[in-house]
């Protein structure tokens, strides 16, 4: 089984609440779940949707075909009716939409009336709809009632009971009235973890001992600030909403200089404002983690939609030369572990580390067995208290074999911590002489860079180990590419090569992935941008030219059927 449910409606109608609740019901039932959202840059009105795919086998992308459409607005019908699968059903409330549809696949459920009758308030219409979907699927309500209890626990027994009654009303109505419903979703074994990319980054930061997060709200990065702020009290993390992104990165650098792990997050436009601060981190060797959420640009672009067009920006932006690390996780799980690795490398090498994501990864929820806390790297690299007290002298930018100077916390001993955005000597004071300049560039850049490169993991190979066809991608296309490989491998020898650690570009020491590419008949680079930025990076780093490329830049993610068709078209051309 592999079902897709779409909830369509205006902003403010509660699409996300229904979607989140259903996704949680499915993950607690033991299903594999993948969700994705499509919304406009507005608080009310317009047309948005929330799509949930669930299955008893792993799912990691969205499909074009839908099985149940919950239409909360009239516009949902013409927009999504054609996406319905053969046995698909549309549920709607004719009283709310002020329209009746007589086709067999339409089921009119009085969401509002049932809410008033059974729950006592029309506000519970969405709970009725949620119950109705579960009724159509032939699922029991136990898990939903548990979730209602979790959500409304603080509001008292009456509210919990009213919502429960509303859910039952929707469920029973659907069971009785949906004569053509042929869905079946029996409960599986144990509940799965359900998490979105954006929460994974927030969680990864918390799990890495981040103590300070400063940012200016900007889609799709705001969720990180929300998550960390929610955990601030429990974990002792200060979250400061800065007046602008310039302040955000400079505050984080101040906090990091003062001795705590610090992070900031933004989208492309905000990152543009942070660029001078990025260079400051490079010069002062101050550890910082920057989450960079890509969205379609230039300028304001499509604020709430998805794109992968900031790779060149992240790679090359800044005045001057200094090492940086760039990650682009492909799944929420990768986002969690790579955020941890970002902190580890930032602290170890005293450099800026950028975690690139996009709206698609940010908003999509995935299911996992669980995250393994024992895999986290949380080493303390800073000089504190006694260790610092013991030093007879301390130089913040001391020249060392590795290029990494001891990083001390100001105020912990009589030793002073001095750093400067100007070129500086070992102590951190301004200099003008050529000799020191050369020594410092060697230290900051040439000594550290090879060590950093050794930390970078090669791309993941998935599929055939000696493939004729290799699809290559980075970041959020992991899931959809992998599912394409699963489908196509029935007919061809195909594999995916996915890069989540982008820069320094992975060496061939751990895995000779170039051999895979060189031996393939067809190599396709798949990116959500117009110009093929990753393909260009690959060419610059390795000289390799892809035979084909698939680029999408309409602000929408690749849906499974669409990408399959495009890959297939390339194969047919062979």
């Amino acid at each position: 089984m592999d079902y897709t449910i779409k909830i369509g409606g205006e902003a403010g109608q509660g699409i996300q609440t229904i979607g989140d609740t259903l996704a949680r019901v499915f993950s607690r039932t033991g299903y594999h779940v993948f969700t994705h959202q499509d919304y406009e840059s507005r608080i009310r009105g317009g047309h948005n949707f929330f799509q949930i795919r669930f299955s008893d086998k792993p799912v990691m992308s969205s499909r074009k075909k839908i099985d149940i459409l919950v239409a909360l607005d009239k516009e949902s019908i013409p927009l999504h009716e054609k996406e319905l699968s053969e046995s698909g059903q549309i549920i709607y409330d004719s009283a709310s939409l002020k329209q009746k549809y007589d086709k067999p696949q339409f089921l009119d459920i009085p969401f509002v009336n049932l809410a008033v009758e059974h729950g006592g308030n029309k506000i519970m219409a969405n709970t009725v709809a949620t119950g109705a979907v579960l009724g159509m699927l032939g699922m029991e309500l136990g898990i939903l009632l548990g979730i209602i209890k979790d959500i409304f626990g603080k509001k008292g027994e009456d509210i919990i009971k009213a919502n429960g009654d509303a859910a039952v009303a929707g469920h029973d109505f659907a069971v009785k009235q949906c004569i053509t419903c042929s869905f079946s979703a029996a409960p599986l074994a144990k509940p799965r973890m359900l998490i979105a990319g954006i929460d994974s980054i927030g969680l990864g930061a918390v799990a890495s001992g981040c103590k300070f997060y400063s940012a200016y709200p900007m889609t799709p990065s705001t969720g990180i600030m929300n998550y960390i702020a929610g955990k601030g009290k429990e974990y002792g993390i200060i979250v400061e909403q800065a007046e602008d992104e310039i302040a955000a990165i400079n505050m984080a650098l101040g906090a990091s200089f003062a001795g705590v792990r610090a992070m900031t997050g933004t989208a492309g436009g905000g990152f543009a404002l942070m660029v001078e601060g990025l260079s400051l981190a490079g010069m002062t060797e101050t550890p910082i983690v920057i989450a960079l959420g890509q969205r379609p640009a230039p300028a304001t672009g499509f604020p709430t939609r998805t794109e992968q067009a900031d790779l060149n920006f992240a790679l090359y932006t800044s005045h001057g030369e200094f090492p940086r690390v760039i990650f682009a996780p492909g799944t929420p799980e990768q986002a969690f572990y790579l955020t941890n690795k970002a902190f580890d490398l930032a602290e170890k090498y005293q450099i800026p580390v950028i975690i690139m994501f996009d709206t698609y990864l940010s908003d999509s929820e995935w299911t996992f067995e669980g995250f393994d806390v024992s895999k986290l790297r949380n080493t303390e690299y800073r000089l504190r208290g006694e260790a610092m007290e013991k030093l007879s002298e301390y130089k913040r930018h001391a020249l060392t074999e590795s290029g990494v100077s001891p990083l001390a916390i100001p105020g912990e001993s009589k030793n002073l911590v001095v750093t400067d955005s100007d070129e500086h000597d070992e102590e951190g004071h301004i200099v003008e002489d050529a000799e020191t300049r050369i020594k410092m560039v060697n230290k900051r850049l040439f000594k550290k860079l090879p060590l950093i490169r050794q930390e970078i993991e090669p791309p993941v190979l998935y599929g055939d180990s000696k493939p004729d066809i290799v699809v290559v991608g980075w970041g959020s296309n992991y899931g959809v590419m992998r599912e394409c490989v699963d489908t196509l491998s029935k007919n061809v020898k195909i594999a995916m090569l996915h890069f989540s650690e982008i820069y320094p570009f992975p060496s061939m020491d751990k895995f000779d992935y170039m051999k895979i590419l060189n031996n393939a008949k067809l190599t396709i680079c798949i990116e959500n941008n117009a110009t093929g930025q990753f393909a260009r990076l690959m060419r610059a780093e390795t000289g390799f030219e892809f035979k084909a490329s698939i680029n999408r830049f309409d602000g929408r993610p690749f849906l499974l059927e669409e990408l399959l068709e495009e890959i297939d078209a390339n194969i047919r051309r062979l």
């Binding site: 918390v206 974990y235 200060i238 007046e243 302040a247 200089f257 986290l376």
Partner: protein, 283 residues
């Protein structure tokens, strides 16, 4: 107890006669007299002649970017509120490039001390108008004279209900020292705008020009009256008041964050024992 020797830094590269020398000497006297050890102090500076200030003393130093002293200082204070954090900036740095940060640092009331070396001109870039240059001042880049109205940092700060607002004069070091001490001892964001003659590029606002105009605010003046403070802040021209113009007892930001009530953030080592419980929230 710290001595002046403890604060001996590099030899300044400022022009002979620069107003910055007076500020530097006063600063050293102030921190020594207050018994502040160099490691208990972090000076954050930006770019400009004032930005070089921390290299000419000895203490923890973050010499950052032009205009960005206050966000860095804010981050340091939030991470470690046991640390005395003083931001040193010029008028171009703080009132021009970093103007937005000034507004919000005042609003936050973070306990950072901001000492502005206000010479009403750009020194390091060789003589362009600054936000506090007087209307009509001619420079190479403003050949018809400055058209914009002179920024009044005192009035701006009072308007934003800044916790501590004072003006000093680099040529009146004893008085300036009193202001610096008051600012450091005040709990909350403190702005001290220091009139600083630029002997090379500003031929209008000279030592002589300031000496003829500055007057000490009379002892009976009540700096806690905001309306009176605003009147005093607007005085500029034949008579320029120096002293504490405004002061209030707004709670400072560091006192309002529950997370750091008991001890500074930097002293709280991460406790990740609850991670498994946190992960369960995603099931």
């Amino acid at each position: 107890m710290p001595t002046l020797d403890d604060y001996k830094g590099q030899t300044p590269t400022w022009c002979p006669g620069c107003g910055n020398f007076g500020i530097l000497k006063t600063f050293k006297d102030t921190v020594v007299e207050l018994g502040i050890e160099p490691h208990q102090l972090t000076v954050v500076s930006g770019i400009g002649q004032a930005g070089k200030f921390p290299h000419y003393i000895k203490c923890n130093t973050f010499n950052g970017l032009h205009g960005r002293t206050l966000p860095v200082a804010t981050g340091i204070r939030l991470a470690n509120h046991d640390m005395l954090v003083i931001a040193v900036a010029g008028d171009g740095d703080c009132y021009g490039e970093g103007g937005n940060h000034l507004n919000h640092a005042i609003r936050r009331n973070i306990n950072v001390k901001l000492f502005v070396h206000d010479n009403q001109i750009y020194g390091l870039t060789k003589g362009q108008a600054s936000p506090t240059s007087m209307e009509g001042m001619k420079t190479k880049n403003q050949p018809f004279g400055v058209f914009s109205e002179q920024l009044n940092p005192m009035a701006l700060a009072v308007a934003l209900d800044c916790s501590f607002v004072a003006r000093g004069f680099a040529g009146d070091m004893e008085h300036l020292k009193g202001l610096m001490k008051e600012a450091i001892n005040h709990k909350g964001f403190s702005l001290v705008d220091i009139l600083q003659p630029c002997v090379t590029f500003n031929k209008i606002n000279t030592y002589e020009w300031y000496r003829q105009r500055v007057y000490h605010i009379e002892p009976e003046y009540n700096p806690e009256n905001r309306t009176e403070a605003f009147k005093r802040a607007l005085e500029w021209g034949d008579r320029i008041p120096v002293g504490i113009i405004y002061r209030n007892s707004r709670q400072m930001l560091e006192e309002r964050i529950p997370i750091i009530m008991d001890k500074p953030l930097v002293k709280q080592l991460p406790d990740l024992s609850k991670l498994e419980t946190t992960l369960k929230e995603f099931y």
